[in-house]
Amino acid sequence: MSISLQSLITMVDSWLGEGKRVLGPKLVKPDFVQYAWLGAGSELQLEGFLRPANSIKEVVFPRHETLYRYRVDGKTVQLLEEDFKPVETLVLGARPCDAAALPILDPLFNWDFRDEFWNLRRKAVTVVTLACQSWDEQCFCTSVGLGPDAARGSDVLLYPLGNGHFAVRLITDKAAALFGSYADEDHPDPSPGPPVKFAPDAVKEFLQANFESSFWQENTLRCLGCGACAYYCPTCHCFDIIDEKSSRVRNWDACQFALFTLHASGHNPRKTQPERQRQRLQHKFRIYPEKFGEILCTGCGNCTRNCPVGLGVLNVLKAVQHG
């Protein structure tokens, strides 16, 4: 058995009809596919692109969310906390490098202090992943232990069969009701994926040995500090908390911004872009693995594809190898 594109479209429409949300690849302008909230099944785009430009992290970690609202009335304040009930959500057509980011981030949102915004949204999300058939020179999933049909973070994997049909591989029970009847015992061989470009252990060793090093100045001074790498990244999760319109809200933030670590005194522990680039790499390939046993990178290549000055994880790591 396999599932047809038409059945997937029908599935999307029936979910939307039940008031659930569906995030999937959508052609938002010519030659530009993004993960977007679908308004109809017909918007679903499952072929003809490498990967959506953004990531799926927004389904569990919105770029802007209210933590609680309050009412200030003279000298008194009332906290207005609504019951947080995330809408049931289907991600249809995630790439394996996007799906894997969710379990990678679980421990961060749960060490000591459990972030229930993250946890409840995670529970409400079903991830249907579309195995990759192609890759570009920015892809490096195979260097961080993933691959074109890596199952991590996915509830179902779909393999394009090329005839408008997709082979279905159930990964968890979560999607059994939806996809169980289409599931196949066998699934096609995946594409081989991009060649391995580096060894994470060697990168970790380099980072350990080169905290103080001219390497950062020489190779990352050209960073503009725009933060695009973090915003497109499936695993970057840094955030800011601010007040607006009687709400305390959380917004995405990025370690490449000059204000990110600026002290009130004017002192800034990371005062230049090379120090901020070093932090990004250290965090992903040394700090996070040491803390949580996971590389904070899925090899999607988004940071390199979207960097205006040709940096991003892969290019910096290439410099490591040549350095």
């Binding site: 933590l67 609680y68 309050y70 200030v72 000298k75 008194t76 304040v77 906290l79 906390e81 019951d83 947080f84 961060l108 949102f109 060490w111 000591d112 202090f113 459990r114 972030d115 229930e116 915004f117 409840l120 905290f211 103080e212 999760h237 840094c238 955030f239 800011d240 908390i241 601010i242 007040d243 009687s246 305390r248 959380r250 933030d253 370690c255 990110f260 670590t261 600026l262 002290h263 009130a264 005194s265 002192h267 522990p269 990371r270 120090e275 932090q279 250290q282 965090h283 040394r286 700090i287 040491e290 803390k291």
Partner: protein, 277 residues
Amino acid sequence: MDNVYRPYLMKVLEVRQHTPDVKSMRVAFQDEDVAARFSFRVGQFGIFSAFGYGESTFNICSSSNWRGYLEFCFRKTGRVTEALWDTEVGDTIGFRGPYGNWYPMEAWERKNLIFLGGGIAMPPIRCAIWYALENRQRYGDITIVYGARTVKDLVFADELDEWEKHERVRVIRCVDPGGETPEWKGEIGFVPHVFERANVPADNSVALVIGPPVMIKFTLPVLDRMGLRACDIYTSLENRMKCGIGKCGRCNAGDCYICKEGPVFSLEQLQKLPQDY
């Protein structure tokens, strides 16, 4: 849902202005049940907030023996602290915490305590001083060296006088050259030099050093020359924080999240961290 970002509502009981731009506040839990069960250890911090303006991170500068309320101190520097500056007795503010680790007050028992502070760094030392004075018999001699740029920049100056009245407590006040007034009876000079001139006995001592990076930089060699070991010198790091609970990603120094594994570190621990703070 258990919302880890939800603050406690606090009633402002008292506001004290210490300098032209530094105030401290005493705040009490609005919810009596929370007040009854709340406890913390000296050295921990909280995230305090002015509703409508945002959150800021401050040390809890009251002693952990004081029940029913807590105190914090801030300099007017930005959006949140300007809003807190305008907060009056009876107003409501927010507090999350306590977060982070604390001073090892038990390990410091039977030792002489040396407190070295500069400027706005007195509040995170003050909580430990009061705690030690309230358990006076557990600690040896107490030396407090506190400096500020000018006489009017000294924070908790009235409490310095009070501490001095206790037995086996030596208080040394200093201001930067040019910062003195005609009536000034304290020392003139920078904390590291004034401290070195004071010839404080170093045997069986621990030091808590908090202040601007430049003060710490020049004070550590003095402590070293006195023979204090790196494991007996402590500080509190005050990296910028947003969540306070190890998630928002900005306070780390190398692989150490200051909000969770700090803010209190011994020099021995600091020497293992990269220069990222």
